[in-house]
């Protein structure tokens, strides 16, 4: 019990008085609207008080940072020791252009790198595939072979900077390129730090960057987890992502529940398939959340996430290492909350969302640029977004103390409610036979699809407000921000580069390497060592993915809606 009976009695007396007063006022001046709820449609009360969190146990449910259940953060020192990593997601055109952007960002005080790949790379196709036509370099950097990777990382100290790569079906290959590049430069793998997203479950649920069926997809992920555990211990081999689930239209609770259940699925698969003890790999699992526009809902979501994970790890998997109980997560502000109309307003939205992420205790953060709803961000827009983080960190004073919202009647009650609803979903998915089975039945997809449709209807009816879209619109607005354009010559340039690599490599060696990967797939061996050899021999992303597609089959989205 957080409060004495005396305090609760007192509160209930005063509350009664307050309620009477509210009734009196409302009868004369009715509220502006009947329904007050979060952007996810979670109902919010007019006020919260001691009785709303009276059932909590301080030691079991709240405690201090660095203490179970890690509601208030995994590190004892909070942001005083180190701010979150300022990690701006970037990539466009060729590897050379992206490399220039990376140097620009590092010179501006960014502390970690993050790569956006173009769609052909994300889907495991080379630039010369007919499927890639028109897509090269459009919303990320085009990588076909390790030669591109050399250009991408030119002048970047791989042993010092941490690099995140947003890559999923071909994650084994891009990570192999990173490892091989380091190896060629004489940097030991043990020094490498960074993250590969490598989370296929959320692709089946939400983003649809698909290659092979769920089962072998999870197998490849388990391969990377095993390889990382053994040889690249500072690398986060999977970034279990709620971001895309949310962008697809999920509610905050759905994002929370599906992401954590995805995490549990990976844990269960590695234990089952690889026979590794949970605490040997769980500390390297990392998470990735969306920070949407509803301020308190986001903070409560992130706090709840930490508590659910630590409880789940301890209770469901018998983990005994504290580091396995830590949920460390990256956050990105919500792309879907931005508007093409009056785009400068996006700076305000992003700042609010970034502040929520910081108050929620994120370990690393990407802030969207104001023009991202229109095109790839310009240097100037990226700079404002990065400065937003720096202002929050160094001017606002919110980092002075850890988890300043703890103990708030409202925030704690909301955190509890979201945790409870998330567990309901998690148990429901358990009943369906786990996440892979649930996906096969279309359960999370349908839940999200329902929520997305409902939200769009609410926007159309102006029951939920987006400024500039359904309120305070400007007629015939002239958008005067400079738009970054990817030159159509990028595709030609990249095609020539790829052709040159293919001409100059030892094709017999490439063939052998691909054959080795095929055998490893068929035997169920870990593919990582073979991938590293293959990329060194200049095998392309698509050539290796074609092996996966051949052995495991190609998966097409069943289109559940």
């Amino acid at each position: 019990m957080l409060f004495t009976q005396e305090l609760l009695d007192q509160s209930s007396l005063l509350r009664k008085k307050w309620e009477d007063e509210v009734k009196r006022v409302v009868s004369k001046n009715p509220d502006q609207k009947a329904d007050w709820s979060t952007v996810s449609d979670l109902g919010i009360k007019r006020i919260y008080g001691p009785e709303d969190i009276g059932g909590m146990d301080f030691e079991k449910d709240i405690a201090y940072p660095g203490q179970f259940p890690f509601l208030r953060g995994c590190q004892a020192t909070g942001y005083r020791g180190k701010y979150w990593t300022f990690r701006m997601f970037s990539g466009m055109g060729t590897a050379v252009t992206t490399n220039e952007r990376w140097h620009y960002l590092l010179n501006n005080g960014q502390t970690g790198l993050s790569t956006a790949f173009d769609f052909p790379t994300l889907m495991g196709y080379d630039t010369d595939s007919p499927k890639a036509k028109g897509e090269c370099g459009k919303c990320g950097v085009a990588i076909d072979t390790i030669e591109d990777f050399f250009d991408l990382t030119k002048g970047i100290p791989l042993g010092k900077v941490s690099t995140s790569m947003t890559i999923n079906p071909p994650a084994t290959i891009l990570w192999a390129m990173y490892c091989a590049t380091a190896d060629i430069q004489g940097i030991p793998l043990t020094q490498l730090s960074g993250t590969i997203q490598n989370d296929m479950l959320k692709e089946f649920i939400a983003q649809k960057t698909l290659m092979c069926p769920p089962e072998p997809s999870v197998k490849l992920i388990s391969d990377t987890i095993e390889f990382g555990t053994k040889y690249v211990p500072k690398w986060n081999t999977v970034s279990i992502s709620g971001y895309h689930i949310r962008e697809a239209g999920a509610t905050a609770v759905q994002e929370l529940a599906f992401t954590l259940r995805d995490g549990m699925e990976y844990v269960e698969d590695v234990i089952r398939r690889k026979g590794l003890p949970v605490d040997s790999f769980a500390p390297r699992l990392s998470f990735f959340f969306n920070s949407h526009i509803d301020f308190f809902e986001e903070i409560a979501k992130m706090r709840a996430a930490r508590r659910i994970w630590s409880r789940g790890m301890r209770e469901r998997y018998g983990s005994t290492d504290e580091r396995s109980w830590w949920m460390r997560f990256h956050t990105q502000t919500a792309g879907c909350s931005l508007t093409a109309q009056q785009p400068y307003n996006n700076v305000v939205r992003t700042a609010t969302e970034a502040l929520a992420a910081v108050l929620g205790g994120t370990a690393s953060l990407h802030t969207n640029s104001l023009d991202e709803v229109l095109c790839l961000p310009s240097d100037h827009a990226v700079q404002i977004a990065l400065r937003t983080q720096q202002i929050i960190a160094e001017e606002t004073g919110v980092c002075n103390t850890i988890d300043p919202l703890a103990g708030s009647y409202f925030v704690e009650a909301l955190t509890n409610e979201m945790e409870e609803q998330a567990w309901d979903y998690i148990h429901k998915i358990d009943e369906l036979g786990g996440m892979v089975a649930a996906i096969e039945k279309g359960f999370p997809q349908l839940e999200i699809s329902d929520a997305a449709y409902k939200f769009q209807r609410q926007i159309d009816a102006a029951e939920k407000i987006m400024i500039g879209v359904n309120k305070y619109n400007v007629e015939n607005e002239e958008v005067d921000i400079p738009l970054v354009e990817i030159d159509e010559t990028v595709e030609q340039e990249q095609l020539q580069r790829l052709a040159a690599v293919k001409r100059n490599r030892d094709s017999k060696r490439v063939k052998e390497c691909l054959e080795d990967i095929k055998k490893a797939c068929e035997k169920g061996e870990n593919v990582m060592p073979y991938c590293i050899e293959a990329v060194k021999a200049r095998a392309s992303v698509q050539e290796i993915c074609d092996v996966y597609r051949e052995v495991y089959g190609e998966y097409r989205d069943p289109g559940i809606y």
């Binding site: 069926p213 089962e215 089959g553 998966y555 097409r556 989205d557 069943p558 289109g559 809606y561």
Partner: protein
């Protein structure tokens, strides 16, 4: 309209799809086109596929297309999804699963909405089959809605009916009891790698032991692996296609194709009479206001439905 029929006979895809559209929309004079193509029908092997929603019908159809194409035969597909009873709109999503055949000129896929029809099909299926048949498709697959369990209309249109069952859906035995047992020529246990598949197999088997098979064809049970294991899935669907061909051969060898054809013809004459006789009469009655008057009379108990029907028959039917 007859022109459309002529073009359909040459395999003109636009003509074929427009003709099916006109059948669906009940455009006047569409019958003229059907009259023109009817003499050329009866060549294709029509395969029906039915089963509960989520049983994997479209995914099976997709793979079945591969098996059929591998034998160099062409395929027409009609996939039926339900219309919303509230808005009349429909989400036709079966095509997504057959996307890979979109570039294959030997495959024609058409999505149909039920538009209020009961029995798991669209009213356009009967004539639609004729159109796909005369355009030269060797095998025509008709996929039913799969919402209810009374989807037995397919028997009136298909030579071979596949009934898809999945373990763990809970209602398989009920489905069999509800009448699917009688229409099945082949049972498919889909996602056979799932828990409960053996049990379902045994249940289906014992259900059949109680059945009678006057034609001499005892429906085989084909186990199909989940499509998440693409290679074994493909292999088991190849085996399924062999069974389908065996069934067709059985019908042919035993002169039973005629029997099936008879079912279809009976349905067709029924539908045609309805549209040639009943519908015009009904329209006339509604137009003249007689229908409303009849309703009022009945409400006041001045007469009864049978007397009214006799009166209408006497007036409109030439005896």
């Amino acid at each position: 309209m007859e022109e459309l029929g002529k073009r359909a006979l040459t395999g003109d895809i636009r003509a074929v799809s427009r003709l099916i559209r006109n059948i669906e929309d009940q455009v006047p004079n569409t019958h003229e086109a059907i009259k023109h193509i009817f003499p050329f029908t009866g060549r294709a092997h029509v395969v029906g596929i039915t089963g509960a929603p989520g049983a994997g019908k479209s995914t099976l159809t997709d793979q079945l297309i591969c098996s059929i194409r591998a034998k160099n035969k062409t395929v027409g597909v009609m996939a039926v999804d339900p219309s919303s009873p509230f808005t009349g709109g429909a989400l036709l999503g079966d095509r997504i699963r057959m996307l890979r055949h979109a570039d294959d000129p030997g495959v024609f896929v058409r999505s149909l909405a039920t538009r209020g029809a009961m029995g798991g099909l669209s009213k356009a299926v009967g004539d639609g089959i004729h159109v796909l048949d005369v355009m030269g498709k060797d095998v025509i697959i008709v996929e039913t809605v799969g919402v209810g369990q009374q989807e037995v209309d397919i028997i009136n249109h298909a030579h071979t009916v596949l009934v898809v069952l999945v373990p763990g859906m809970g209602d398989e035995v009920q489905a069999i009891k509800a009448g699917l047992m009688e229409v099945a020529d082949i049972f498919i246990i889909n996602k056979a790698d799932r828990e409960g598949a053996r049990k379902l197999y045994k249940e289906t088997l014992s259900m059949m032991d109680m059945g009678k098979f006057p034609s001499g064809w005892r429906p085989p049970i084909v186990m199909v692996e989940s499509n998440l294991e693409p290679h074994s899935f493909a292999k088991s669907v190849d085996e399924l296609y062999e069974k389908i061909q065996e069934h067709y051969k059985f019908l042919y060898d035993n002169n039973l194709l005629q029997e099936r054809a008879q079912l279809k013809v009976q349905t067709e004459i029924n539908d045609a009479l309805r549209s040639a006789i009943l519908e015009p009469v009904l329209n006339k009655l509604i137009e003249t206001g007689e229908f409303d008057q009849m309703v009022q009379k009945l409400l006041k108990k001045e007469t009864d439905p049978y007397t009214l029907a006799d009166e209408v028959a006497a007036k409109y039917l030439i005896k």
